[in-house]
Amino acid sequence: MTTDSPPAEHPTAPSPGTAADELKALLDAAVDAVIVISHDSRIQTFNRAAERLFGYRAEEVFGQSVNVLMAEPYRTAHDGYMRHYMQTGEARIIGIGREVTAQRRDGSQFPASLAVGQVPGSRPPRFIGFLHDITARKAAVEALRRERDRAQSYLDLAQVMLVAIDPGGRIALINRKGCEILGYTEAELIGRDWFEICLPERQRATARAALAASLADVRTPEAYTEDTVLTRQGGLKLIAWRTIVVRDELGRPAGVLSSGEDVTERRRAEQALTRSESLLRAAQAIANLGNYEIHLPSGTTYWSAQMYRILGREPSAGPLPPSEFPAQVVHPDDRERCLREWQRAVEESERFDLEFRILRSDGTAREVHGLAQLQPGAGGESLVITGTLHDITERKHAEDELRQGQERLTHVGRLSTMGEMATGLAHEINQPLTAIATYAQAAVRLMDAGNDDPAELREALVQITNQALRAGEVIRRLRAFVKNKTARTETVDLNRLIEDLRVLAEPDARVNDVRLTVDLGAGLAPVAADPVQIQQVLLNLIRNAIDATLETRGTPREVLVRSGAVADGIEVAVIDRAGGIPPAVAANLFNPFYTTKASGTGLGLAISRSIIRAHRGKLGHRPTPGGGTTFFFTLPPLPGA
């Protein structure tokens, strides 16, 4: 109700005659409370509706200040309003409806809308007020508001972001989750341009065009999209969107409503998983390593892609059941061993760890290393066997070749050492041959001369036998030393080994006019070694010592071989009294093909060191006190010896 067109001039009270009665009837019939007050706020008219509303009878309030009908703060403020109007003529309420809180006779209060107008022509002015109880309307509005709040809280409760965007691209609505994801408060976002604020620049044009297209009904928005949003902190988050077009009552597009889920972490995890899966696949291919799973007792089997490749089988054919694996895959020669080991592992819940051969479907054989572990499955009775199969064919071949290469090299080194010692060895065999020939010829001469002393002839024959055996022994050792190509490890008494070696080493010393002496430590523990290889090392060191002695004049022509116990095992030292090692030579001592000898191969020390290393020992040198060089090697004692 407005006061722009106030009712016509009708005196309200007191008014004589019929017109007054008519007016009263009219007022009493009105639904709104109608109250007329004087310029000093005295109530002059109070209709029936006002009586009902306030609980006063008209006679009770006539002449009273209208204040009684008001609740605080309006009651106190009212006198101020009136005075202000009277002085300035400036209306604050007149002609303007407002909502006030009214107070009944019983003190209860209610919301009401109030329209006030000045009675035209009244001097001093009088005012007429229309008052309408809006309790019901207020309740309805409140209910609506609650409903809206509830809806908002639903929105806020949702763990997805909800954004409504109007046709201008402005944010019409955003829930708490949305604010949380974007890092803004609701107030900072509502009404702002969604694209400017919340999208990375490169996406803006496309997204704007998509909105325009959706709103123009050119195309429906994609039901599901993933896109990044820009947060207040400048970060990017990946959001999975579902979008619908919101339409007005006429069915025209009025904006879009999107629900978005922050999938940044999930996508990252998925990508990490994908990446690690593809890495695993690549790693398996590179390492030629396949893996499998067998679920027991069902026998359900899984093979990785590389398993099929190693076994040369088609992935489409699926994995072989464990029961068929040995017969179809394992090499016949290894089948029994493999089965036995597998059964042992399954029965004892032990680790399966075996190298065996397989036959691929194309008939080629490969070397593989199988590892498997039993684990309890989900159910109490079930078992899962997790295993890997590693194709080690290339490695095996490489190992074989390396070992053969090393054996060949070692053998060449030995032959070369023998070559250097040939003069001495020829001499060593020549000596018994000379003795044999001389004894035999002497015996013939004795017989021819009619010598009848059998003791003398017998002695000659015994000596011939001894010398033949002596020559044979040299040749036997020589053959054993040169012929033996493959390494073999046995328990070795180093002192015995040194004694045996004297047969080969002493001739070399003798022909070079060098005295070779041996000083053997007592009670040495045995070592695990390849005796021929250790002899090779020792012979090489002795040869070097002899050569060093020959190179320097005026030093004692002596080489001493000494054995003894040291902290980390048994040491064998070859001690010369020659000129020592010049620093330039020392630096290259163990380099293959480095040699100071005119006819040397430069392999001797390099091979010697690799032999000693293979025996888990060490080879080194130090100055001999008083001049010369001592080369030594140590070997660890036999465990438990």
Binding site: A426, N430, T434, A435, Q441, Q463, D513, R515
Partner: protein, 207 residues
């Protein structure tokens, strides 16, 4: 002068070779002494003893070549037969240059060794006979008077009696008397014989 019988001295560090050599040489009736090292032989060496040396060229300590060098240093005349291995030809050549009689490679035919030993023993006999001859010449020369020695020197220089008489400022007749005394004391059958004896005596006097 009564000589001891010539002995074969065997020096070899190899027991078997040494012992077999002893038996072989004994079987052909040669007196043998064996030594295990050069030093051992040198320690017991007696220059007066006739014989020859059978010497191993390679030995630890003092080698055969070194022993030969030591013997040369003390002007020992004992002839040496070297025993060598297959690879020792350069050493054998060196030994020959230093006066060895011969060398023989191991193993050897007994006759080859015995032949060489006999050859060496013969050389030793010659050496010793030569030594005896020179000793006799020197003894005779010591019986000459100083004037007779002067005449001997000038005669053996090929000077005529008249020239010698002029050099010594004596009569030609005096020279002829001295010359006859020299020929007699030196037991020279001719002038040529006399010259040969003087050369022989001088050669060995300053080796």
């Amino acid at each position: 002068m009564k000589e001891k019988p010539a002995t074969v001295f065997v020096v070899d560090d190899d027991d078997a070779v040494r012992t077999s050599l002893r038996l072989l040489l004994k079987s052909v009736g040669l007196p043998v002494e064996t030594y295990a090292s050069a030093q051992e032989f040198l320690d017991g060496f007696d220059a007066e003893r006739a014989g020859c040396l059978v010497l191993d060229i390679r030995m630890p300590g003092m080698s055969g070549l070194e022993l030969q060098q030591r013997l040369n240093e003390i002007h020992a005349i004992v002839p040496i037969v070297f025993i060598t291995g297959h690879g020792d030809v350069p050493m054998a050549v060196e030994a020959m240059q230093h006066g060895a009689v011969d060398f023989i490679q191991k193993p050897f035919r007994d006759q080859d060794l015995i032949d060489r030993i006999n050859q060496a023993l013969e050389k030793d006999r010659d050496n010793r006979a030569g030594l005896k001859e020179r000793d006799a010449i020197r003894r005779r020369m010591q019986q000459l008077t100083p004037r007779e020695k002067e005449v001997l020197d000038l005669v053996t220089q090929g000077k005529a009696n008249k020239v010698i008489a002029g050099d010594l400022n004596v009569s030609q007749r005096t020279v002829e008397i001295h010359r006859a005394r020299v020929m007699e004391k030196m037991a020279a059958s001719s002038l040529a014989h006399l010259v040969r004896m003087v050369i022989e005596a001088e050669r060995t006097a300053a080796p």
